[in-house]
Amino acid sequence: MMRWALWLLAGALLGGIVHLVTVLILPATATQDAYSRFSTMSEVNTVTPVPPPTPQNAVIPFMDPAFAAAVCRYDLSAGPIKLNVPVSIAYTSVSFYTRRGVAYYAINDRAAGRRAIELDLMTSAQRSNLPDDEEVTAADRLIVESPTSTGLIMVRALAPEAGLMPAVRNALNAARCRVDVKS
């Protein structure tokens, strides 16, 4: 009897280890994460409008239907990225996600404080390679450091009433993300 109890205990302990290991390796093995879902519908380093979620079809779960969204799937290996998002009528935000979907930075139109949200996205290595004089002019440039060389930028704009959705979608079409050629 005692021996079986020991086997049970060993099983439970091993179960705890299995649990921790599966939780830790899951993000690296997931095939249906947000980045993979957007890979099939968007080009690298361009802003692509995300189709509005419907009951039959949504690119990712838990999208806010009151928002128009666009995605820029970025790859910083060719150089830093410049992002320009015009502010729309009500509320505009830009959120940055790593390859694994962790939100590492987000900013809204009021925090950006201008008519357009303008940002430079680069890896920490690219940032330390910036010439010194660039660093001075960088004071009025917003620089975001990406922890991974690939990831997602989600641009979202709120349509406060359903009737305003077409106008908000149009405004988002002017958003740009491109590799900064001069640096």
């Binding site: 179960g15 694994r100 979907g101």
Partner: protein, 192 residues
Amino acid sequence: MRLIFGCLLAFVIAAAIGLGMTWLTLSRGTAFGAIPIGAWTAWPKTGTQDADPYSRATIARSGELPVGSGDGVAFLARADDNGKALDGRCDVLINGVTPQARFWTITLYDSQGQLVANSIERHGFTSQEILRHADGSFEVAVAPRARPSNWLPTGGIENYVLMLRLYDTPVGVATRAAREAPMPAIQVRSCP
């Protein structure tokens, strides 16, 4: 012989406990960094780089993108104020006020995070659309059949969840109590 049986038993138990716990924690959500206010729970840390391994795994598995902390915070309700799972065949009333925020939206999803089909194509309300009382509070009737005022149709599905997202809000990682963030009550009025 006994040794083999013992090992097999241990492995089976390990697999069942380990995978079962993983599945359970990822589908239910964990208490790490959770802010429960009434029927609502927010995980503001999930929208930052300090997200714990459980929320990272949840995000990767479901494919959702959490609301970033510089953007806002999302509160999820799976049950009413009495802890009973939200049922789309019941008449449910949400009433009260929301925490301070520039905008908020309330949205109804099925348990997988998909919108629910309904005849009027309404899936939620924004803070601008909703009809309010004179004191600024509001009521939303979540019900399978049409209701006057703010009606959020459930499509009659068995299980649904509600998500209240606050945009540009002081509510976040530092929020501790319901006093700082008053959330609306969720009450079942009648069930067939």
